[in-house]
């Protein structure tokens, strides 16, 4: 177990210290960490407007314990965490599991001290976004958002923001897109800043749509719903398994299952399934290894034209046009 004490901030002052703690170094925008701790990439970028992005795509070779003690409290951290393996955050003595199939989006105020634990062998893909509180205020003012208590929300003495949530399916795929890009260079920087903006857009959309806060759902129910989501993703190439089967898996009545699934993911099970299926189809098309009819068969669409019409409905472009201009 290696313990690292570090801080983050919404400028780049944390980078040097962070690399030093790992016995690593900073090269350009990369943080190089010794291979015996982890392999992979860490990349940071100042996106302007008081926003810093920190990209992590690594595999851990050791159990790691990170203690975050920030010296400045003027920022909020958004952690999009897609860890395959085990990763937990504890704040105020409560423990949250933050890997891919758990709370994969955490919003934590800079004033808070937190402990992050990750186990050996975990593969982490994460994007951390640090935003200055003053930028949030400015943003709200510029866009005439009505937060009657914005000053209270942003005042570190009165309120600390902390929220554990799940990112929307859309955000997940935006991140997945970024993951495919080669890190470094001006083209990647454009993509990274673009991704940050789109994630913020999604987050705002979520705030505006006033979906229930996931933290308020009781734990076993949430776990069951997530496990059915996981089941759907694992069987994304098969037929839709039926609500009955899914509800049984979740130990709920069909109606409860449907309502809760909708509340948590913002989508019906079938829509969630179809959306992911189409995104899978898009990935397969991008690989250029298969023909359209091969893909439609593989994903168990009844026929090609149904596949094409669904694809067009979702992306606005037919699969054929998509392949042509790839």
């Amino acid at each position: 177990m290696k313990t690292i004490e570090h801080f983050y901030s919404a400028d780049l002052s944390w980078v040097e210290n962070f690399a030093k703690q790992y016995n690593g170094k900073v090269e350009g925008n990369f943080i190089i960490v010794p291979e015996d701790i982890q392999s992979g990439t860490r990349y940071f970028l100042d996106c302007g407007e008081g926003i810093v992005a920190y990209y992590i795509n690594v595999e851990y070779k050791k159990n790691l314990h990170l203690i975050q003690k920030n010296s400045s409290n003027d920022f909020v951290g958004f952690y999009y965490n897609l860890t395959d393996g085990e990763a937990t955050v504890s704040v105020h003595n409560s423990l949250y599991n933050v890997s891919r199939w758990q709370y994969n989006l955490s919003v934590i105020d800079g004033t808070l001290e937190s402990d992050y634990n990750v186990t050996k062998g975990s593969k982490t893909f994460a994007l951390c976004i640090f935003i200055k509180k003053s930028s949030i205020r400015e943003y709200a003012l510029n866009n005439r958002l009505k937060f009657p208590n914005i000053d209270e929300i942003l005042n570190p003495e009165k309120n600390t923001m902390i929220r554990f949530d799940r990112m929307s399916n859309e955000s997940f795929h935006i991140l997945d897109d970024l993951r495919k890009k080669k890190v470094g260079g001006p083209v990647f920087d454009l993509n990274l800043v673009g991704t940050v903006h789109m994630l913020i857009a999604n987050y705002l959309k979520k705030l505006a749509s006033k979906r229930i806060i996931i933290q308020t759902v009781n734990q076993p129910d949430l776990t069951s719903i997530i496990s059915t989501q996981m089941y759907l993703i694992e069987h994304i190439e098969d037929h839709f398994p039926s609500i009955k089967l899914l509800a049984e898996k979740a130990n709920m009545s069909e109606s409860k299952f449907k309502t809760l699934f909708n509340k948590i993911t913002g989508n019906t099970p079938n829509m969630f399934f179809m959306e992911n299926k189409l995104l899978r189809a898009k990935e397969l098309l991008e690989s250029k290894q298969f023909s359209i009819s091969q893909i439609s068969d593989r994903l168990n669409f009844t026929n090609n034209s149904y596949f094409a019409s669904k694809f067009k409905e979702h992306f606005g472009v037919s699969p054929k046009t998509f392949v042509q201009d790839l």
């Binding site: 454009l190 789109m198 606005g316 472009v317 046009t321 998509f322 042509q324």
Partner: protein, 332 residues
């Protein structure tokens, strides 16, 4: 036809000129809602980063309109992405270009130093995104562009080095981004961030495709590669026999003959028959030097040839030597 004149800058103040001429106002320095007289729709402008701004227009015209862009002092490039489902006209240097809909060309890059005008079709939904980029950010790109323009497949015309325009296709992933933008409302809370993100990703896609163009060789799929290797192995195993025919090999690979021949050429850079002959000759050379044969005719029969002159000529073609020069006779 009504004409509107405007210019671009990276900062929002230019919008007032556009708004004045359409008899409307700019809201929040970002949004222009066009009056019913001209058409139904709106535009949106925002600064993404210092040096990059984006202008978005979504409009159904009721009267014909020509939007003329004047040259301004700002050193800019304008990336025009058009996703209207009909044809609009863009006029650059007195030449009309059709732009819009997916099967037409739908991407134009224009230098701010060249005047251009945009003429959207009437009674159709025109949907375009323009990204304004400071030239200093793109110096690297321009240098590379000028050196590569001859290789570029798309129809483009280059002026002097510092004044150019380009005309081409949007790549698929960008089309998807633009399509999803189409479904958003500019009054949404998240729109500003969304369009900023979209603009940056569009540029990212454009440049990554642009820099990738050199190694864009349209490779074979994995399945095709496997089939190629399978037939190649078959040829090598039967090197002493006659050439099995392309029909046979194509069936083996599960392809049509023409597809097979094209794929084979892509994979091994030669035709199946030439490949087979070359391998035969390599074996022939070994046999000749082995000292196991009494005459050339014996070697020839071993390789399943029936005319010595044919064997000799093919051998000469490949190694520039006659078989007799390499022949080692079997000792008694």
């Amino acid at each position: 036809m009504k004409k509107i004149f405007h210019y671009y800058s990276l900062t929002p103040e230019w919008q007032h000129k556009l708004a004045d001429q359409t008899e409307t106002k700019v809201i929040d320095n970002k949004i222009i809602i066009f009056p019913e007289k001209i058409g139904k729709g709106q535009s949106y402008f925002t600064q993404v980063t210092p040096g990059i701004s984006v202008f978005f227009i979504d409009l159904s015209l009721n009267t014909p309109l020509k939007i003329c862009r004047e040259v301004s002092e700002n050193d800019l490039y304008i990336f025009h992405f058009d996703l209207s489902e009909h044809v609009n006209l863009i006029k650059i240097n007195n030449e009309d270009y059709e732009i819009g809909s997916y099967d037409k060309l739908d991407l134009a890059i224009i230098d701010n130093q060249i005047e251009s005008s945009y003429k959207p079709a009437v009674h159709e939904r025109t949907f375009a995104v323009r990204i304004l980029v400071d030239k200093s950010l793109l110096s690297n790109f321009i240098a590379k562009y000028s050196s590569k323009e001859t290789k570029h497949q798309t129809k483009d015309k280059t002026q002097k080095k510092d004044e150019f325009y380009h005309y081409g296709n949007i790549d698929s992933n960008s089309t998807l981004l633009l399509q999803s933008l189409k479904t958003k409302s500019i009054h949404d809370l998240s729109f500003d961030s969304f369009i900023k993100g979209t603009a940056l990703k569009l540029l990212g896609n454009f440049f990554s495709r642009f820099y990738d163009l050199e190694n864009n060789t349209n490779p074979l799929t994995q399945a095709e590669n496997e089939a190629m290797n399978k037939t190649k192995d078959f040829l090598l195993e039967n090197i002493y026999g006659p050439f099995p025919s392309v029909v046979f090999l194509a069936t083996m690979a599960g392809m049509s003959e023409s597809k097979y021949k094209i794929a084979f050429k892509k994979c091994f850079n030669t035709t199946p028959n030439n490949f087979f002959i070359k391998e035969k000759m390599t074996i022939g050379k070994e046999l000749l030097k082995s000292g196991e044969f009494h005459t050339l005719t014996e070697v020839m029969y071993e390789l399943n040839y029936s005319k010595l002159s044919y064997f000799t000529s093919k051998y000469y073609e490949l190694f520039n030597r006659k078989p007799i020069d390499d022949f080692v006779k079997k000792g008694h």
